[in-house]
């Protein structure tokens, strides 16, 4: 939706009539390409798709085989051993980790979405001295490697006595984050200002403009921010590695790392437990993608976020 708006589809292509951008044309490919050409393309893509899917197929299938068959050739789970999952469940507190990941993920995503939308409204709606400078500063923080602020940030949480709690995994998100501020500001800028002017005439306050008008209108963008941050939180290893000692507080990736170290190489070589854990950590992300596919694709295409 925004793509067309701020990708400058309205910007004139040199030498062409303004506004006649390809994106607006009906997507009917002229039939000048021979059919076997297209079949060749499809065949090449099928080949690539098989390569990309095989690791998944192997992962799921191997997780359903008995230990001594994990590395057996073939892609079928024979002999079939679904009890691996029960075994994994008993060996490590998978359910606790799963719950922790959900809680931390929701807190992180909700915090960053709300605060970033609030800040983005400030940048999109108001005119004030220093606006461009501040927005430049917002964008500049995206360039900063995590490693630069990692140690002092750890010292802050440590001084607050909050290490070995899950607070540091999400509380930083209460202050907005550059990427989402940028994304939501773009969406807000595409809304007609007259909406807001009219509401002002009717006596709405600025927080009301934000909460009652802007917030519902940018819901698709809020969802993009939410699912991206939830995924980022769900897959993060570094922060749990820095802050969590108590195994009961672990998120799934942190727990999975322990599972690998304890049951994998150098451990008891119980690969079926490791694999079952990996499937359980991956599955929710796959489901999330299918539920929110449109938002992921849109988010990447509009902002070019990596993963």
């Amino acid at each position: 939706m925004t793509t067309a708006v701020e990708r400058g589809a309205a910007a004139p292509v040199p030498g062409l009539q303004p506004g006649r951008s390809a994106a607006r044309r009906p997507p009917t490919e002229p039939a000048r390409r021979p059919i076997w050409h297209r079949m060749l393309f499809v065949a090449a893509l099928v080949g690539a798709a098989v390569l990309f899917m095989l690791p998944f197929v192997w992962l799921v299938s191997a997780s359903l085989r008995p230990r001594e068959y994990v590395f057996a050739p073939g892609f079928l789970p024979v002999p079939f051993a679904p009890e691996n999952y029960a075994e994994a469940w008993q060996a490590v507190p998978l359910l606790t980790w799963f719950g922790n990941s959900v809680l931390v993920g929701v807190a992180a995503a909700a915090a960053v979405t709300l605060s970033s939308a609030w800040v983005a409204f400030g940048f999109a709606y108001f005119r004030f001295p220093g606006r461009n400078l501040l927005f430049g500063l917002v964008l500049a923080t995206m360039m900063l490697p995590f490693a630069v602020t990692m140690i002092p940030t750890y010292l802050i949480w440590s001084n607050l006595g909050l290490t070995d709690t899950q607070v540091p995994l999400w509380a930083g998100n209460l202050f907005g984050s550059a990427f989402y501020i940028f994304l939501l500001r773009q969406f807000l800028l595409s809304l007609p200002r007259e909406y807001f002017e009219a509401a002002r005439m009717d006596g709405a306050s600025y927080p009301q403009l934000f909460w009652k008008l802007a917030f519902p209108l940018i819901r698709p963008a809020l969802l993009v921010a939410f699912v991206f941050e939830f995924k980022a939180s769900w897959t993060d290893l570094l922060k749990p590695l820095i802050y969590l000692r108590n195994e009961q507080l672990y998120t799934l990736p942190r727990g999975l790392k322990v599972v690998l170290d304890r049951f994998g190489y150098g451990g008891e070589q119980q690969w079926e437990v490791v694999l079952a854990g990996s499937v359980l950590a991956t599955l929710p992300m796959i489901i999330l993608f299918f539920l929110a596919q449109r938002h992921f694709v849109e988010g990447i295409a509009t902002t070019g976020r990596k993963g």
Binding site: A49, F52, P55, R127, A147, L237, L241, S278
Partner: protein, 315 residues
Amino acid sequence: MATVTPPVPGRRHRTPLARREARWAYLFLAPWIIGFLIFYAGPMLASLWLSFTEYDVINPPQYTGLDNYRQLMSDPAVARSLGNTVYYTALHVPLVMLISLGLALLLKRVGRLQGFFRTVFYLPVMTPAVAVGILFLLLLNTQDGLINRALGLVGIAGPSWTTDPHWVMPGIILMSLWSLGSTVIIYLAALQNVPRDLYEAAAIDGAGSWARFRSVTLPMISGALFFTLIVNTIASLQMFTEVYTMYFGNRETQNTFNSDAASFYVIHLFQEAFQFLHMGFASAMAWLLFVIILIITLIQVKLSNRFVYYEGEDK
């Protein structure tokens, strides 16, 4: 865009309304400004200061001048991890860009099947990095891994990807290519924004498909190419999770090879900080990384001015 926020009026004396608006604006910006001071500006200054000290968290920091930076320049472990990281980046980034562009060009031409294939290429990106590390640790297994089995089918005896120090990096690069889906989506979006008129005009002028690709497609998507070059470079210079999962964290002692072979810069930095509690030295490493990233990005921006074509550029 201009419809929403008219330019700031250039008047000296601001009306009471404008002042009131500005107060509200700062109220909206307040969370970010506070967060910026606490989590960016403050920590940046603090880590810069720490980089000139010796600090183990328990005792107060001891000022040691340029010692950390001197040690940084002469430490073979740092050099090794930096070398590995640059090696990885130099192969990973071009390979990701080339393969993604190929896939995006194919995707653009298959009509309704596009959505299906796009999903297939994106699903690995959704997989948690720890799971990716575990999965490839097993896929790259020398005797029984899927990859060497496949190589065996065509008569190639696959290398010891996870145990031979010379093959650890190629194995990691291979793994990294599995997760290139977001780059494919960016290229596909860029390709779909190329006006068809340009192709038609080029075809009328007698341009063949290679000429059309070179003089229409490439310039029109050069912005996306440049963008992914920068983003992928910055990200791969900070590679951490997959490799840490595979080869580090209580596992260094179990590796059959010297874990130096899999050492990446940020992994080494993390270990210096949180395992050996060399917080001062790790801060110096972080600043060196920051400077390296800045320099590489600046070079890329400079080069791009020559190659990137911006639509509607009025310079």
